[in-house]
Amino acid sequence: MIAFVTYKMILVLVIFTITLAIAAYSTYAERKVAAFLQDRVGPDRAGPFGIFQPLADGLKFIYKEEIIPNVSNKLLFVFGPCIAMLTALMAGVVVPWGDTVFIGGKEYSLQITDLNIGILYVFGVVSIGVYGIMIGGWSSNNKFSLLGAIRASAQMISYEIAMGLAIIALVLMTGTLSLREITMQQAGGLGGDWNFWNVVYQPLGFLIFIVCAFAECNRTPFDLPECETELVGGYHTEYSSMKLGFYLFAEYINMFISSAVISTLYFGGFNFPFMNNLGLDHNMISIIGTIVLFAKIVFFIFFFMWIRWTIPRFRYDQLMNLGWKIMIPLAIFNIALCALISLYINR
Protein backbone atom coordinates (compact mmCIF):
# COMPACT_ATOMS: atom_id res chain seq x y z
CA MET A 1 0.00 0.00 0.00
CA ILE A 2 2.72 2.43 1.05
CA ALA A 3 4.76 1.49 -2.02
CA PHE A 4 1.76 2.16 -4.22
CA VAL A 5 1.13 5.55 -2.65
CA THR A 6 4.79 6.55 -2.90
CA TYR A 7 4.92 5.53 -6.54
CA LYS A 8 1.78 7.52 -7.32
CA MET A 9 3.06 10.51 -5.32
CA ILE A 10 6.35 10.49 -7.20
CA LEU A 11 4.51 10.22 -10.50
CA VAL A 12 2.20 13.10 -9.59
CA LEU A 13 5.14 15.23 -8.52
CA VAL A 14 7.10 14.49 -11.67
CA ILE A 15 4.17 15.23 -13.96
CA PHE A 16 3.35 18.39 -11.98
CA THR A 17 6.94 19.59 -12.33
CA ILE A 18 7.11 18.75 -16.02
CA THR A 19 3.80 20.51 -16.64
CA LEU A 20 5.00 23.66 -14.91
CA ALA A 21 8.38 23.55 -16.62
CA ILE A 22 6.82 23.11 -20.05
CA ALA A 23 4.32 25.88 -19.34
CA ALA A 24 7.14 28.17 -18.23
CA TYR A 25 9.20 27.41 -21.28
CA SER A 26 6.14 27.79 -23.49
CA THR A 27 6.19 31.47 -22.60
CA TYR A 28 9.79 31.62 -23.73
CA ALA A 29 9.03 29.55 -26.83
CA GLU A 30 6.08 31.77 -27.65
CA ARG A 31 8.30 34.83 -27.70
CA LYS A 32 11.02 33.08 -29.62
CA VAL A 33 8.64 31.61 -32.19
CA ALA A 34 6.91 34.96 -32.57
CA ALA A 35 10.26 36.63 -33.10
CA PHE A 36 11.55 34.07 -35.56
CA LEU A 37 8.36 34.10 -37.61
CA GLN A 38 8.70 37.88 -37.81
CA ASP A 39 12.41 37.86 -38.75
CA ARG A 40 13.48 38.99 -35.29
CA VAL A 41 15.71 37.37 -32.68
CA GLY A 42 13.52 37.51 -29.58
CA PRO A 43 14.68 37.46 -25.96
CA ASP A 44 18.39 36.65 -25.89
CA ARG A 45 19.80 38.58 -22.95
CA ALA A 46 19.05 36.32 -19.95
CA GLY A 47 21.58 33.54 -20.31
CA PRO A 48 22.66 31.91 -23.57
CA PHE A 49 19.89 32.44 -26.15
CA GLY A 50 17.80 33.89 -23.33
CA ILE A 51 16.96 30.53 -21.79
CA PHE A 52 16.61 32.06 -18.32
CA GLN A 53 13.92 34.43 -19.54
CA PRO A 54 11.07 32.48 -17.87
CA LEU A 55 12.88 32.77 -14.52
CA ALA A 56 13.28 36.51 -15.02
CA ASP A 57 9.62 36.82 -16.00
CA GLY A 58 8.55 34.80 -12.96
CA LEU A 59 10.69 36.91 -10.63
CA LYS A 60 9.24 40.06 -12.13
CA PHE A 61 5.71 38.77 -11.56
CA ILE A 62 6.46 37.93 -7.94
CA TYR A 63 8.12 41.25 -7.13
CA LYS A 64 5.46 43.40 -8.78
CA GLU A 65 3.00 45.28 -6.64
CA GLU A 66 -0.21 43.40 -6.15
CA ILE A 67 -3.31 45.52 -6.59
CA ILE A 68 -6.76 44.35 -5.57
CA PRO A 69 -9.32 46.96 -6.67
CA ASN A 70 -11.37 48.49 -3.84
CA VAL A 71 -14.66 47.93 -5.62
CA SER A 72 -13.97 44.29 -6.41
CA ASN A 73 -15.34 41.30 -4.61
CA LYS A 74 -12.09 40.45 -2.87
CA LEU A 75 -12.74 36.79 -2.11
CA LEU A 76 -13.80 35.95 -5.65
CA PHE A 77 -11.02 38.14 -7.04
CA VAL A 78 -8.47 35.89 -5.36
CA PHE A 79 -10.49 32.79 -6.15
CA GLY A 80 -10.56 33.33 -9.93
CA PRO A 81 -6.90 32.70 -10.77
CA CYS A 82 -6.83 29.81 -8.27
CA ILE A 83 -9.63 28.04 -10.13
CA ALA A 84 -8.01 28.71 -13.49
CA MET A 85 -4.72 27.23 -12.29
CA LEU A 86 -6.33 24.32 -10.44
CA THR A 87 -8.44 23.12 -13.35
CA ALA A 88 -5.56 23.53 -15.77
CA LEU A 89 -3.37 21.29 -13.64
CA MET A 90 -6.09 18.70 -12.94
CA ALA A 91 -6.60 17.60 -16.52
CA GLY A 92 -3.17 16.00 -16.77
CA VAL A 93 -4.17 13.22 -14.38
CA VAL A 94 -5.76 10.91 -16.93
CA VAL A 95 -3.33 11.44 -19.81
CA PRO A 96 -1.20 8.33 -20.34
CA TRP A 97 2.31 9.76 -20.40
CA GLY A 98 3.84 6.45 -21.35
CA ASP A 99 3.41 2.69 -21.41
CA THR A 100 4.28 0.56 -18.39
CA VAL A 101 7.81 0.05 -17.12
CA PHE A 102 9.12 -2.96 -15.20
CA ILE A 103 11.27 -2.10 -12.19
CA GLY A 104 12.40 -5.07 -10.10
CA GLY A 105 9.83 -7.38 -11.65
CA LYS A 106 6.93 -5.05 -10.81
CA GLU A 107 4.94 -3.26 -13.45
CA TYR A 108 4.47 0.48 -13.10
CA SER A 109 2.13 2.45 -15.32
CA LEU A 110 3.24 5.92 -16.39
CA GLN A 111 -0.25 7.29 -15.94
CA ILE A 112 -1.53 8.74 -12.69
CA THR A 113 -4.90 7.06 -12.96
CA ASP A 114 -6.66 5.22 -15.74
CA LEU A 115 -10.25 6.34 -15.39
CA ASN A 116 -12.58 4.38 -17.64
CA ILE A 117 -14.30 7.71 -18.40
CA GLY A 118 -11.04 9.52 -19.08
CA ILE A 119 -12.24 11.81 -21.86
CA LEU A 120 -15.35 12.72 -19.92
CA TYR A 121 -13.15 13.67 -16.97
CA VAL A 122 -11.00 15.92 -19.18
CA PHE A 123 -14.13 17.60 -20.50
CA GLY A 124 -15.52 18.04 -17.02
CA VAL A 125 -12.35 19.67 -15.73
CA VAL A 126 -11.91 21.87 -18.78
CA SER A 127 -15.47 23.14 -18.51
CA ILE A 128 -14.83 24.15 -14.88
CA GLY A 129 -11.96 26.26 -16.23
CA VAL A 130 -14.45 28.75 -17.61
CA TYR A 131 -15.47 29.54 -14.03
CA GLY A 132 -11.98 30.83 -13.30
CA ILE A 133 -12.28 33.31 -16.15
CA MET A 134 -15.91 34.18 -15.44
CA ILE A 135 -15.37 34.74 -11.72
CA GLY A 136 -12.17 36.71 -12.30
CA GLY A 137 -13.78 38.96 -14.89
CA TRP A 138 -16.98 39.50 -12.95
CA SER A 139 -15.43 40.13 -9.54
CA SER A 140 -13.06 42.80 -10.96
CA ASN A 141 -16.07 45.12 -11.26
CA ASN A 142 -14.75 46.54 -14.51
CA LYS A 143 -16.72 46.62 -17.71
CA PHE A 144 -13.82 45.49 -19.89
CA SER A 145 -13.17 42.54 -17.61
CA LEU A 146 -16.84 41.65 -17.60
CA LEU A 147 -17.10 41.85 -21.39
CA GLY A 148 -14.02 39.68 -21.72
CA ALA A 149 -15.38 37.17 -19.25
CA ILE A 150 -18.77 37.01 -20.98
CA ARG A 151 -17.09 36.53 -24.33
CA ALA A 152 -14.87 33.83 -22.88
CA SER A 153 -17.68 31.87 -21.33
CA ALA A 154 -19.91 32.13 -24.40
CA GLN A 155 -17.05 31.08 -26.63
CA MET A 156 -15.95 28.18 -24.48
CA ILE A 157 -19.46 26.83 -24.04
CA SER A 158 -20.20 27.07 -27.79
CA TYR A 159 -17.05 25.31 -28.82
CA GLU A 160 -17.27 22.65 -26.12
CA ILE A 161 -20.34 21.29 -27.89
CA ALA A 162 -18.59 20.81 -31.21
CA MET A 163 -15.57 19.40 -29.40
CA GLY A 164 -17.71 16.88 -27.55
CA LEU A 165 -19.47 15.87 -30.75
CA ALA A 166 -16.11 15.37 -32.47
CA ILE A 167 -15.11 13.08 -29.62
CA ILE A 168 -18.36 11.09 -29.87
CA ALA A 169 -17.38 10.05 -33.39
CA LEU A 170 -14.03 8.90 -32.05
CA VAL A 171 -15.69 7.01 -29.21
CA LEU A 172 -18.03 5.33 -31.72
CA MET A 173 -14.97 4.07 -33.53
CA THR A 174 -12.85 3.02 -30.55
CA GLY A 175 -15.66 1.87 -28.29
CA THR A 176 -14.03 3.23 -25.13
CA LEU A 177 -13.70 6.46 -23.15
CA SER A 178 -10.44 5.50 -21.46
CA LEU A 179 -7.50 7.43 -22.84
CA ARG A 180 -5.16 4.49 -22.18
CA GLU A 181 -7.27 2.07 -24.19
CA ILE A 182 -7.62 4.56 -27.02
CA THR A 183 -3.84 4.84 -27.08
CA MET A 184 -3.32 1.09 -26.94
CA GLN A 185 -5.67 0.62 -29.91
CA GLN A 186 -3.36 2.82 -31.97
CA ALA A 187 -0.28 0.70 -31.16
CA GLY A 188 1.83 -0.64 -33.96
CA GLY A 189 1.17 1.48 -36.96
CA LEU A 190 3.55 1.17 -39.85
CA GLY A 191 5.53 -2.03 -39.99
CA GLY A 192 4.15 -5.44 -39.10
CA ASP A 193 0.52 -4.70 -38.33
CA TRP A 194 -0.95 -2.00 -40.54
CA ASN A 195 -2.75 -0.15 -37.79
CA PHE A 196 -2.82 3.60 -38.21
CA TRP A 197 -3.31 6.45 -35.82
CA ASN A 198 -6.84 7.70 -35.34
CA VAL A 199 -6.19 10.82 -37.42
CA VAL A 200 -6.18 8.63 -40.53
CA TYR A 201 -9.66 7.32 -39.75
CA GLN A 202 -10.99 10.56 -38.29
CA PRO A 203 -9.58 13.46 -40.33
CA LEU A 204 -12.74 15.55 -40.07
CA GLY A 205 -13.10 14.81 -36.38
CA PHE A 206 -9.48 15.82 -35.83
CA LEU A 207 -9.98 19.08 -37.69
CA ILE A 208 -13.05 19.94 -35.63
CA PHE A 209 -11.28 18.93 -32.44
CA ILE A 210 -8.16 21.01 -33.03
CA VAL A 211 -10.16 24.09 -34.05
CA CYS A 212 -12.24 23.74 -30.90
CA ALA A 213 -9.08 23.20 -28.86
CA PHE A 214 -7.81 26.54 -30.12
CA ALA A 215 -11.07 28.13 -29.04
CA GLU A 216 -11.03 26.39 -25.65
CA CYS A 217 -7.50 27.60 -24.94
CA ASN A 218 -8.42 31.16 -25.96
CA ARG A 219 -5.66 31.12 -28.53
CA THR A 220 -5.55 33.17 -31.69
CA PRO A 221 -7.62 33.24 -33.91
CA PHE A 222 -10.09 32.79 -31.04
CA ASP A 223 -8.45 35.02 -28.43
CA LEU A 224 -11.47 37.29 -28.11
CA PRO A 225 -11.69 37.01 -24.31
CA GLU A 226 -8.47 38.95 -23.93
CA CYS A 227 -8.20 40.72 -27.26
CA GLU A 228 -5.84 43.47 -26.25
CA THR A 229 -6.85 45.83 -29.05
CA GLU A 230 -10.49 45.98 -27.99
CA LEU A 231 -10.80 45.04 -24.35
CA VAL A 232 -7.53 46.26 -22.79
CA GLY A 233 -6.70 42.84 -21.38
CA GLY A 234 -10.09 41.16 -21.31
CA TYR A 235 -10.98 39.28 -18.13
CA HIS A 236 -7.58 39.88 -16.51
CA THR A 237 -7.50 43.67 -17.00
CA GLU A 238 -7.55 44.36 -13.24
CA TYR A 239 -5.11 41.64 -12.31
CA SER A 240 -1.50 42.29 -11.47
CA SER A 241 1.49 40.50 -10.04
CA MET A 242 1.40 36.71 -9.68
CA LYS A 243 -2.40 36.55 -10.03
CA LEU A 244 -2.03 37.76 -13.60
CA GLY A 245 0.86 35.32 -13.87
CA PHE A 246 -1.46 32.50 -12.82
CA TYR A 247 -3.97 33.37 -15.51
CA LEU A 248 -1.32 33.52 -18.20
CA PHE A 249 0.30 30.39 -16.86
CA ALA A 250 -3.01 28.52 -16.80
CA GLU A 251 -3.41 29.36 -20.46
CA TYR A 252 -0.08 27.77 -21.28
CA ILE A 253 -0.82 24.72 -19.15
CA ASN A 254 -4.12 24.37 -20.99
CA MET A 255 -2.23 24.52 -24.24
CA PHE A 256 0.12 21.80 -23.03
CA ILE A 257 -2.75 19.58 -21.88
CA SER A 258 -4.65 20.16 -25.13
CA SER A 259 -1.57 19.16 -27.09
CA ALA A 260 -1.23 16.05 -24.94
CA VAL A 261 -4.90 15.13 -25.45
CA ILE A 262 -4.70 15.75 -29.20
CA SER A 263 -1.57 13.59 -29.43
CA THR A 264 -3.21 10.86 -27.39
CA LEU A 265 -6.56 10.82 -29.13
CA TYR A 266 -5.51 11.32 -32.73
CA PHE A 267 -1.77 10.86 -33.03
CA GLY A 268 -1.15 7.59 -31.27
CA GLY A 269 -0.01 8.93 -27.90
CA PHE A 270 3.17 7.17 -26.89
CA ASN A 271 3.11 4.86 -29.91
CA PHE A 272 5.50 5.37 -32.75
CA PRO A 273 5.94 3.67 -36.13
CA PHE A 274 7.91 0.39 -36.26
CA MET A 275 7.80 0.15 -32.45
CA ASN A 276 7.26 -3.62 -32.52
CA ASN A 277 9.86 -4.28 -35.20
CA LEU A 278 12.89 -2.81 -33.49
CA GLY A 279 13.47 -5.78 -31.22
CA LEU A 280 13.93 -3.65 -28.11
CA ASP A 281 12.74 -4.74 -24.69
CA HIS A 282 9.53 -3.39 -23.17
CA ASN A 283 11.14 -0.80 -20.86
CA MET A 284 13.18 0.70 -23.66
CA ILE A 285 10.14 1.04 -25.91
CA SER A 286 8.22 2.67 -23.07
CA ILE A 287 10.94 5.24 -22.52
CA ILE A 288 11.23 6.01 -26.24
CA GLY A 289 7.43 6.15 -26.35
CA THR A 290 7.34 8.81 -23.63
CA ILE A 291 9.95 10.83 -25.47
CA VAL A 292 7.95 10.46 -28.68
CA LEU A 293 4.78 11.59 -26.90
CA PHE A 294 6.57 14.69 -25.65
CA ALA A 295 7.93 15.35 -29.12
CA LYS A 296 4.37 15.23 -30.45
CA ILE A 297 3.22 17.56 -27.66
CA VAL A 298 6.02 20.01 -28.39
CA PHE A 299 5.09 19.94 -32.05
CA PHE A 300 1.48 20.75 -31.25
CA ILE A 301 2.51 23.56 -28.89
CA PHE A 302 4.61 24.91 -31.73
CA PHE A 303 1.62 24.51 -34.02
CA PHE A 304 -0.51 26.56 -31.62
CA MET A 305 2.08 29.35 -31.74
CA TRP A 306 2.60 29.04 -35.45
CA ILE A 307 -1.12 29.57 -36.04
CA ARG A 308 -1.13 32.47 -33.59
CA TRP A 309 1.39 34.40 -35.64
CA THR A 310 -0.34 33.56 -38.93
CA ILE A 311 -4.05 34.21 -38.59
CA PRO A 312 -5.71 37.41 -37.37
CA ARG A 313 -8.47 37.34 -34.80
CA PHE A 314 -12.08 36.54 -35.71
CA ARG A 315 -14.82 39.07 -35.29
CA TYR A 316 -17.25 38.03 -32.58
CA ASP A 317 -20.17 37.26 -34.91
CA GLN A 318 -17.83 35.29 -37.17
CA LEU A 319 -16.72 33.31 -34.14
CA MET A 320 -20.29 32.45 -33.18
CA ASN A 321 -21.24 31.68 -36.80
CA LEU A 322 -18.30 29.33 -37.09
CA GLY A 323 -19.10 27.64 -33.82
CA TRP A 324 -22.82 27.14 -34.15
CA LYS A 325 -23.48 27.10 -37.90
CA ILE A 326 -20.42 25.27 -39.18
CA MET A 327 -18.63 23.34 -36.47
CA ILE A 328 -21.66 21.75 -34.82
CA PRO A 329 -23.42 20.63 -38.06
CA LEU A 330 -20.09 19.38 -39.34
CA ALA A 331 -19.51 17.42 -36.14
CA ILE A 332 -22.99 15.90 -36.34
CA PHE A 333 -22.35 14.96 -39.97
CA ASN A 334 -19.09 13.36 -38.85
CA ILE A 335 -20.91 11.30 -36.22
CA ALA A 336 -23.48 10.11 -38.77
CA LEU A 337 -20.74 9.24 -41.24
CA CYS A 338 -18.75 7.30 -38.63
CA ALA A 339 -21.84 5.51 -37.41
CA LEU A 340 -22.77 4.45 -40.94
CA ILE A 341 -19.27 3.30 -41.79
CA SER A 342 -18.79 1.35 -38.57
CA LEU A 343 -22.22 -0.25 -39.10
CA TYR A 344 -21.19 -1.26 -42.62
CA ILE A 345 -17.81 -2.67 -41.49
CA ASN A 346 -19.20 -4.59 -38.53
CA ARG A 347 -21.99 -6.22 -40.55
Partner: protein
Amino acid sequence: MIRTGMLTNRSKVVVKKEMNFWERMYLPAILSGVVITIKHLLRRKATIKFPEQKREISKVWRGQHVLKRDEHGAERCTACGLCAVACPAEAITMTAAERKKGDEGLFREEKYASVYEINMLRCIFCGLCEEACPKEAIFLTDRIVSTDYERHGFIYGKDKLVEAVDKRIDVTVRQTPEVLEFKKHKLLSHNR
Protein backbone atom coordinates in the same frame (compact mmCIF):
# COMPACT_ATOMS: atom_id res chain seq x y z
CA MET B 1 -14.49 49.69 -58.69
CA ILE B 2 -11.99 52.08 -57.20
CA ARG B 3 -9.06 53.36 -59.19
CA THR B 4 -6.11 54.78 -57.32
CA GLY B 5 -2.62 55.84 -58.30
CA MET B 6 -3.48 56.83 -61.86
CA LEU B 7 -0.34 58.94 -62.12
CA THR B 8 2.10 56.20 -61.32
CA ASN B 9 0.53 53.62 -63.61
CA ARG B 10 0.69 51.15 -60.78
CA SER B 11 -3.06 51.25 -60.17
CA LYS B 12 -4.69 48.15 -58.84
CA VAL B 13 -8.31 47.49 -59.68
CA VAL B 14 -10.17 46.47 -56.55
CA VAL B 15 -13.07 44.15 -57.25
CA LYS B 16 -15.40 42.98 -54.54
CA LYS B 17 -16.76 39.68 -55.71
CA GLU B 18 -18.49 36.82 -53.98
CA MET B 19 -16.11 34.18 -52.67
CA ASN B 20 -16.47 30.75 -54.16
CA PHE B 21 -16.83 27.61 -52.07
CA TRP B 22 -13.11 26.89 -52.01
CA GLU B 23 -12.36 30.38 -50.71
CA ARG B 24 -15.18 30.28 -48.19
CA MET B 25 -13.79 27.07 -46.74
CA TYR B 26 -11.03 29.25 -45.27
CA LEU B 27 -8.69 26.31 -44.80
CA PRO B 28 -6.72 26.69 -48.07
CA ALA B 29 -6.14 30.32 -47.19
CA ILE B 30 -4.90 29.31 -43.74
CA LEU B 31 -2.62 26.71 -45.29
CA SER B 32 -1.03 29.22 -47.62
CA GLY B 33 -0.64 31.65 -44.72
CA VAL B 34 0.99 29.00 -42.60
CA VAL B 35 3.42 28.22 -45.39
CA ILE B 36 4.33 31.89 -45.66
CA THR B 37 5.03 32.23 -41.93
CA ILE B 38 7.10 29.04 -41.75
CA LYS B 39 9.27 30.32 -44.57
CA HIS B 40 10.22 33.20 -42.31
CA LEU B 41 11.32 30.89 -39.50
CA LEU B 42 14.83 30.35 -40.81
CA ARG B 43 15.21 33.53 -42.78
CA ARG B 44 18.03 35.95 -41.93
CA LYS B 45 17.03 38.09 -38.96
CA ALA B 46 16.83 41.84 -39.33
CA THR B 47 17.77 42.46 -35.70
CA ILE B 48 20.96 44.32 -34.84
CA LYS B 49 22.00 43.34 -31.30
CA PHE B 50 22.92 46.84 -30.26
CA PRO B 51 25.68 47.01 -27.69
CA GLU B 52 27.68 44.27 -29.42
CA GLN B 53 26.75 45.08 -32.99
CA LYS B 54 26.28 48.58 -34.26
CA ARG B 55 24.27 49.71 -37.20
CA GLU B 56 26.41 50.96 -40.03
CA ILE B 57 26.19 54.73 -40.09
CA SER B 58 27.01 57.33 -42.71
CA LYS B 59 30.42 58.99 -42.72
CA VAL B 60 28.80 62.37 -42.18
CA TRP B 61 26.43 61.10 -39.50
CA ARG B 62 25.15 63.91 -37.31
CA GLY B 63 25.38 62.80 -33.69
CA GLN B 64 26.47 64.33 -30.41
CA HIS B 65 27.96 67.81 -30.67
CA VAL B 66 31.47 68.85 -29.80
CA LEU B 67 32.77 72.31 -28.90
CA LYS B 68 36.18 72.58 -30.51
CA ARG B 69 39.37 74.08 -29.10
CA ASP B 70 41.91 75.80 -31.33
CA GLU B 71 45.41 74.53 -31.99
CA HIS B 72 46.66 76.06 -28.69
CA GLY B 73 43.92 74.45 -26.67
CA ALA B 74 41.75 77.54 -26.19
CA GLU B 75 37.99 77.32 -26.63
CA ARG B 76 36.87 78.69 -29.96
CA CYS B 77 33.34 79.60 -28.91
CA THR B 78 32.74 83.33 -28.31
CA ALA B 79 29.12 82.99 -27.20
CA CYS B 80 27.80 84.98 -30.14
CA GLY B 81 24.52 83.06 -29.96
CA LEU B 82 24.17 82.45 -33.67
CA CYS B 83 23.83 78.72 -33.12
CA ALA B 84 21.03 79.29 -30.63
CA VAL B 85 19.29 81.60 -33.13
CA ALA B 86 19.75 79.10 -35.94
CA CYS B 87 18.50 76.17 -33.88
CA PRO B 88 15.00 75.27 -35.09
CA ALA B 89 14.35 73.19 -32.00
CA GLU B 90 15.59 75.86 -29.58
CA ALA B 91 17.80 73.33 -27.90
CA ILE B 92 20.81 75.58 -27.31
CA THR B 93 21.18 78.15 -24.53
CA MET B 94 24.27 79.94 -23.35
CA THR B 95 25.53 82.66 -21.03
CA ALA B 96 28.30 84.93 -22.21
CA ALA B 97 31.11 86.19 -19.99
CA GLU B 98 34.16 88.43 -20.34
CA ARG B 99 37.57 86.81 -20.36
CA LYS B 100 39.64 87.61 -17.25
CA LYS B 101 43.30 88.53 -17.41
CA GLY B 102 45.44 85.42 -17.48
CA ASP B 103 42.77 83.24 -19.10
CA GLU B 104 44.13 83.87 -22.59
CA GLY B 105 45.21 80.26 -22.88
CA LEU B 106 41.70 79.03 -22.05
CA PHE B 107 39.56 81.18 -24.32
CA ARG B 108 40.50 82.40 -27.75
CA GLU B 109 38.68 85.77 -27.70
CA GLU B 110 37.70 88.33 -25.08
CA LYS B 111 34.18 86.98 -24.84
CA TYR B 112 33.42 83.37 -24.05
CA ALA B 113 30.50 81.12 -23.02
CA SER B 114 30.53 80.56 -19.27
CA VAL B 115 27.50 78.29 -19.66
CA TYR B 116 26.73 76.42 -22.84
CA GLU B 117 23.95 73.87 -22.78
CA ILE B 118 22.33 71.71 -25.43
CA ASN B 119 19.17 69.84 -24.57
CA MET B 120 19.64 66.55 -26.38
CA LEU B 121 15.95 65.70 -26.05
CA ARG B 122 15.04 68.84 -27.99
CA CYS B 123 17.87 68.61 -30.51
CA ILE B 124 16.87 67.24 -33.88
CA PHE B 125 20.47 66.87 -35.08
CA CYS B 126 19.88 68.99 -38.17
CA GLY B 127 23.36 70.52 -38.11
CA LEU B 128 22.20 74.14 -38.51
CA CYS B 129 24.24 75.21 -35.46
CA GLU B 130 27.34 73.94 -37.17
CA GLU B 131 26.40 75.81 -40.32
CA ALA B 132 25.69 79.04 -38.43
CA CYS B 133 28.87 79.01 -36.35
CA PRO B 134 31.29 81.71 -37.61
CA LYS B 135 34.12 80.49 -35.40
CA GLU B 136 34.26 76.85 -36.45
CA ALA B 137 33.52 76.04 -32.81
CA ILE B 138 30.59 73.62 -32.87
CA PHE B 139 30.47 70.42 -34.88
CA LEU B 140 28.30 67.37 -34.91
CA THR B 141 30.19 64.10 -34.57
CA ASP B 142 29.46 60.45 -35.24
CA ARG B 143 29.04 59.71 -31.55
CA ILE B 144 25.59 58.53 -30.43
CA VAL B 145 23.96 60.40 -27.54
CA SER B 146 23.76 57.82 -24.79
CA THR B 147 20.62 56.95 -22.86
CA ASP B 148 19.72 58.20 -19.43
CA TYR B 149 17.09 57.55 -16.79
CA GLU B 150 16.39 61.22 -16.05
CA ARG B 151 15.36 64.10 -18.27
CA HIS B 152 17.93 66.47 -16.85
CA GLY B 153 20.63 64.01 -17.75
CA PHE B 154 20.08 64.94 -21.37
CA ILE B 155 20.97 68.59 -20.88
CA TYR B 156 24.62 68.53 -21.88
CA GLY B 157 26.79 71.28 -20.40
CA LYS B 158 30.30 72.33 -21.26
CA ASP B 159 31.68 69.39 -19.29
CA LYS B 160 30.31 67.01 -21.90
CA LEU B 161 30.46 69.20 -24.96
CA VAL B 162 33.94 70.77 -24.93
CA GLU B 163 36.59 68.40 -26.22
CA ALA B 164 39.42 67.48 -23.88
CA VAL B 165 42.80 69.11 -24.59
CA ASP B 166 44.58 65.79 -24.71
CA LYS B 167 41.73 63.94 -26.46
CA ARG B 168 40.85 65.98 -29.52
CA ILE B 169 37.86 64.90 -31.58
CA ASP B 170 38.41 64.62 -35.28
CA VAL B 171 35.85 66.56 -37.35
CA THR B 172 37.70 66.59 -40.66
CA VAL B 173 34.91 64.52 -42.21
CA ARG B 174 32.48 67.34 -41.63
CA GLN B 175 34.97 70.22 -42.02
CA THR B 176 35.95 69.45 -45.60
CA PRO B 177 37.48 72.04 -47.95
CA GLU B 178 34.08 72.29 -49.65
CA VAL B 179 32.47 73.24 -46.37
CA LEU B 180 35.16 75.80 -45.66
CA GLU B 181 34.68 77.20 -49.15
CA PHE B 182 30.93 77.35 -48.60
CA LYS B 183 31.44 79.28 -45.40
CA LYS B 184 33.34 81.95 -47.27
CA HIS B 185 30.06 83.06 -48.85
CA LYS B 186 29.49 86.72 -48.12
CA LEU B 187 26.29 86.03 -46.22
CA LEU B 188 28.31 83.96 -43.77
CA SER B 189 31.39 86.16 -43.70
CA HIS B 190 30.37 88.39 -40.82
CA ASN B 191 32.41 88.56 -37.63
CA ARG B 192 35.32 86.55 -38.97
